[in-house]
Symmetry: C2
């Protein structure tokens, strides 16, 4: 397998943590988003979507989305499980993971990409240019704030997002929470559920990646 990563970006970090939690050693190639290497002909040949993460399997199968990468790795390397064991657990992990993307990741990205000077015309990842929409930066921030409250509410009643076990949903959530720092959104001190969970996650070596 080959893993195309970018050490500084939130989306490939999700896959990087997932791979580390599985205890896998995968050939890793850094793609320099700062110099737009993802738009180069060489990288387009690997992923015409011009995004990371990318996982290329030994048979050439190319996975370009975190969900695809996670589904493959979970089936190929079941231990430790990161998508849940029972049907209920699997449902809850996928449900919370989807919410973390929709309500959290896309909201923070919307804010960040629509207001960063360095991303003019790059409001959406991918091969096509899209102009920034300033109203989206505001809206994204409001939604991201709301998402932190959602996380805190859940984590006051549950050890991890999907239940009493660590899962992909926690990986996505912590990547969103750290990414929120890029839009100067930090976790309020009185968000005790979220603070407790975050402190517990800091002890996992994968999270330092």
């Amino acid at each position: 397998m080959k893993f195309y990563d970018c050490q500084t970006a939130p989306s490939p970090r999700r896959a990087r943590i997932f791979i580390a939690e599985k205890g896998l050693n995968v050939d890793t190639i850094q793609v320099d988003l700062a110099t737009n290497e993802q738009l180069s002909p060489a990288f387009r040949a690997i992923n015409p979507r011009c995004t990371v993460p990318v996982l290329v399997l030994d048979d050439g199968t190319t996975l370009t989305e975190n969900q695809g990468i996670a589904a493959y790795l979970e089936a190929a390397f079941p231990e430790p499980p990161l998508l849940g064991r029972t049907p209920q657990e699997r449902g809850l992990v996928a449900n919370w993971n989807a919410r973390c993307e929709l309500e959290g990741l896309w909201a923070v990205a919307e804010c960040f990409r629509n207001r960063s000077k360095g991303l003019a015309n790059r409001a959406i990842t991918g091969p096509q240019d899209f102009a920034q929409i300033p109203a989206l930066a505001e809206r994204g921030r409001a939604r991201a704030e709301e998402f932190l409250l959602t996380l805190d509410t859940r984590l006051r009643e549950s050890r991890y997002l999907a239940g009493d076990f660590f899962s992909m949903a926690d990986i996505t959530a912590i990547c969103v929470v750290d990414f929120a720092g890029w839009i100067k959104l930090s976790v309020p001190e009185d968000y005790l559920g979220l603070q407790r969970w975050r402190a517990a996650l800091r002890e996992r070596p994968s999270l330092a990646l």
Copy 2:
């Protein structure tokens, strides 16, 4: 189990088709989005996110996202498989499903919700109001057009989206293609891959739902 549906909306249609493909008979309750029943106190008690689909399991577990519902049903009722059999298949189904959401479903929804008079202040589903952003309607349409080309390119070389088998990715994709009609976007006649696939899907009874 109880399934909260809305017969006219694209997102619950995905779950409805998934349930039908599994051959399951599930108690179904219609939620009338046209009269904002999803915002009523009674429905908020079921899903504070104010969205459909919702699947409530017999133990009370509540799944509010298509991905959560699909992950649960696939694990609880494995036959026929809709998320792939082998690790490669599982990766490809999840990868294409994620692309259909990101590049297709959210693009069409962005266009539709930001230009429909009836959805003023309802630019995003959920409990909170958000003003429409007209520039998003245009951008969403451009991205949805691009997505139809992506589908056609893939379906010229592959029988179904994830390979030679029908899967959740096809369910999401056909829901997007039909939803695109709401923004007056139809499949060009010379998109022969997409046209062939669409004609084949029409023979599945679940798709009439």
